[in-house]
């Protein structure tokens, strides 16, 4: 490889972590809508990344509804930054 992180290189994963990189936490449903994926798909990606230590998730109540909040852990941010740096090294060769 070229320093690309296989855990976050897939398109959906990359969009997930880049979306989360801008905020401290986001609601599951909001992310789901932003990525335009099904519940099950997002749930599976999230649990895979939680298990990898890249995300944390926390259950709460918001506006009378149960919601799950997810966000990047420090390790997740670090992995994203390294992945993005590696990606830039590859694509900066273009042009």
């Amino acid at each position: 490889m070229a320093g690309l992180d296989p855990l976050i290189h897939a398109p959906t994963r990359l969009q997930l972590v880049t979306t989360l990189s801008a905020v401290s936490e986001a609601e599951f449903a909001t992310v789901r809508a932003a990525l335009d994926v099904s519940d099950s798909v997002l749930s599976k990606h999230v649990s895979a990344l939680v298990e990898a230590g890249y995300l944390h998730s926390r259950k709460g109540v918001h506006a009378g509804r149960r919601t799950t909040w997810i966000g990047l852990t420090p390790a997740g941010r670090k992995a994203l930054h390294e992945h993005v740096a590696a990606l830039r090294r590859v694509i900066d060769a273009v042009e």
Copy 2:
């Protein structure tokens, strides 16, 4: 998706086309060494991209050896540029 091209988003594919983007043609063996993949893997990626119209390949003789030269077609360059642009849109949100 977010404009990412599934034909060139896989790491090996991306490295292949970015490597070729800098030159007009490259030897199969040189590319194989640059990407550090096996003969069969490179051969299969190349034929997939040739079939997609992204690469051209041509057989020739060089220094007493048969060599295959591969390079991006205009369509391949266009696809790469669009893919890179889409990738930048995604990762520029980071930081």
